[in-house]
């Protein structure tokens, strides 16, 4: 195999690794903001997958059948990520104001 | 139950671009809003009032230069008036007129500086300051021409003034007051209609007439608050009762009015200088007094309308060659005391603008 040939599996592996790191961060961090960063990394990895499939799929082929559906999906993911970040960080700030902590292990009362 | 944002302490000064000297504001802030403000003074204290008790009456005149170093002439004048009142020295009429001319020139210089730094505090990057420095520079040249010094003039003497102005002084001052109205019109064009300046200064640092009187503030700040009070009219000294001029009175008592009042006072000063030059009597410029003046025991207080307000000198004599007690009523210190009222609850930029419009001179606050 040509070492210069960058193909779909290359991107999928990168995406998988980043996704794994994102999961690890989201699951193991105490801090709500750090968890949010993990989630954003996961979303990024998914975006990379979408775009990679789009690039190596038929959209960029000689006769594109369904042009750039993957890209359109990524646009929506970006939108949702922005909205999610805004609301989640607002919640983190709110929780901090009420309970003086953003440690997820201590926010366990389902009420504040 | 929410935990509000924590207030924090911001030290403005002692070294800060808009404290105009070594002077510290200890501000408690909540975000950009000021919750509390402390004025910490004393960094420039030189113990003048105590030192004055060790020097003869004439030797004390240079001290008064160094209190309000932007208005040395007015300080000289106030001190000399106090000692003259104490010792009963008569001043020739020519000296009275010269004193008026130089005090008004000093007022022009000081108001140029005050307005320039005020606009600088409002954010105009030094341009108005430089414009106003241009005129101030010419006035300082006139001082240099007359008495050899520019800033700490030490010009007034007990019983008159130290020198008669040289012949070249008169054309120079004529030229200056000829062009000053034009220059003041230029500032008006540049600044008075400026939307940004109006937005920054209108309604900021408002002091009502009652507040101003209760705080015993004087000078342009008092007049901006709507109180028509000017010692040149209320308690005329030198020859002010002979001149025809008006005192400007502001309507809202905000920073903008202070700026406008100072600008208008500059115009009126030009008027006074013009009249004083036209009516300048001939004669001696100084009454000779004994080298070591020993006034009879007693006390005297003389006040002049300095550029910053009522500049009072209180001198007590015990019959010796030096004053037994010497006190300066410094307008800057008293005007500054209302900064707290103007700044608390305002935002930081407003407080800075209010401080700029107060026109303090730290040398006078600390003495």
């Amino acid at each position: 195999m040509n070492p210069l040939a960058i193909t779909l599996p290359h991107y999928l592996v990168v995406s998988g690794i980043v996704f794994g790191i994102g999961i690890a961060i989201a699951l193991s961090k105490r801090n709500a903001i750090a968890v949010l960063m993990g989630i954003e990394l996961m979303l990024n990895a998914v975006n990379l997958t979408f775009i990679a499939f789009s690039r190596f799929g038929s959209a960029f082929g000689p006769e594109p059948t369904q042009p750039l559906v993957g890209h359109v999906f990524v646009v929506f993911v970006l939108t949702v990520a922005a909205a999610e970040a805004a609301v989640a960080l607002a919640m983190a700030v709110l929780v901090y104001r009420r309970r003086e902590t953003v440690d997820l292990d201590r926010i366990n009362l389902m009420r504040w | 139950m929410t935990t509000a944002a924590e207030p924090y302490v911001l030290n403005i000064g002692p070294q800060h671009p808009s404290t105009h000297g070594v002077f510290r504001l200890r501000v408690v802030m909540d975000g950009e809003r000021i919750q509390d403000i402390d004025m910490v003074v004393g960094y420039l204290h030189r113990s003048m009032e105590k030192l004055a008790e060790e020097r003869t009456y004439t030797q004390n005149i240079p001290f008064t230069d160094r209190t309000d170093y932007l208005a040395a002439m007015s300080n000289n004048l106030g001190y000399c008036l106090a000692v003259e009142r104490l010792a009963g020295v008569e001043v020739p009429e020519r000296a009275q007129f010269l004193r008026v001319i130089f005090a008004e020139l000093q007022r022009l210089a000081s108001h140029s500086m005050a307005n320039g730094t005020f606009i600088n505090d409002a954010g105009a990057w030094q341009t108005p300051l430089m414009y106003m420095f241009r005129e101030r520079e010419k006035i300082l040249d006139l001082f240099e021409m007359t008495c050899g010094a520019r800033l700490t003039t030490n010009y007034m003497r007990i019983g008159g003034v130290s020198f008669d102005p040289p012949p070249e002084f008169y054309p120079a001052v004529e030229a200056l007051i000829g062009e000053l109205p034009e220059r003041i019109a230029e500032y008006t064009e540049l600044l008075v209609d400026n939307e940004i300046l109006i937005a920054r200064a209108r309604g900021v640092g408002v002091l009502s007439a009652a507040d101003a009187i209760n705080g015993s503030i004087t000078g342009p700040m008092l007049r901006a608050s709507g109180v028509p009070w000017d010692l040149r009219k209320a308690d005329p000294y030198c020859a002010y009762e002979k001149f025809d001029f008006e005192i400007p009175v502001g309507q809202n008592g905000d920073c903008y009015d202070r700026f406008m009042v100072r600008l208008e006072e500059m115009r009126q000063s030009v008027r006074i200088i013009r009249q004083a030059l036209d009516g300048l009597p001939s004669g001696s410029h100084k009454t000779e007094i004994p080298l070591a003046l020993r006034p009879a025991p007693g006390e005297a207080y003389a006040r002049v309308e300095g550029p910053r307000g009522e500049l009072g000198f209180y001198v007590v004599s015990d019959g010796g060659p030096a004053p037994a007690r010497f006190h300066i009523r410094a307008p800057s210190l008293i005007n500054l005391s209302l900064l707290r009222q103007m700044a608390v609850g305002a935002s930081l930029p407003d407080a800075i603008v209010a401080l700029g419009s107060t026109d303090i001179v730290v040398g006078e606050i600390d003495r």
């Binding site: 975006n47 038929s58 750039l68 805004a86 983190a92 | -």
Partner: protein, 170 residues
């Protein structure tokens, strides 16, 4: 895509993205973690560029590195003392294991599945002029409804975020 430029770019950017992501996990200071997250986002944007996704790469930088990162930094700053450290909870080993599992799973699938033979053809030959027009017409054509919904979602998020952190006026 057989080109030395793409290869160098891919390996450098993949290294940047993966390394920065790892540092987000490893570093002890939350603000440093935010910085590394921004680097990871930028690396991802670079990978998008290697995939000819110009519009999305720029959008990624604008939204992630420009907007979300500012939100993150602000959130860190508005929660003082509580959130300076980036410590792990008791679930850290489990979390790492799950992460490793996912990464291994995706890697396995990616390397073992026989993907279609099409390997990202030469775009120069097709007169490729960018993705903006296509994405734009798709968004306002087939995907008009989701597009409008996304705008509603953004508005709702805006209002929601403001309503959440608004201080009581007392």
């Amino acid at each position: 895509m057989t080109s030395i430029g793409i290869a160098i770019g891919f390996y450098a950017l993949a290294g940047l993205a993966i390394g920065s992501s790892l540092l987000v996990f490893l570093t002890r200071n939350l603000l440093h973690a935010v910085i590394f997250a921004i680097l990871a986002f930028i690396g991802m944007a670079g990978l998008f560029v290697t995939l000819s996704a110009d519009f999305l790469a720029v959008s990624q930088i604008m939204i992630y590195a420009g907007a979300i990162s500012v939100l993150l930094v602000f959130a860190v700053m508005l929660t003082p003392y509580a959130s300076r450290d980036n410590g792990n909870s008791l679930f850290a080993p489990a979390g790492v294991l799950v992460g490793l599992g996912f990464a291994a799973l995706i890697g396995f699938i990616a390397t073992q599945v026989a993907w279609p033979a099409f390997t990202g053809g030469d775009l120069e030959a097709q007169n490729f002029t960018g993705t903006v027009r296509t994405i734009g017409s798709a968004l306002l054509g087939d995907y008009a409804l989701p597009f409008e919904l996304a705008s509603v979602l953004l508005l709702a998020a805006l209002v929601g975020a403001i309503a959440l952190v608004r201080e009581d006026e007392r």
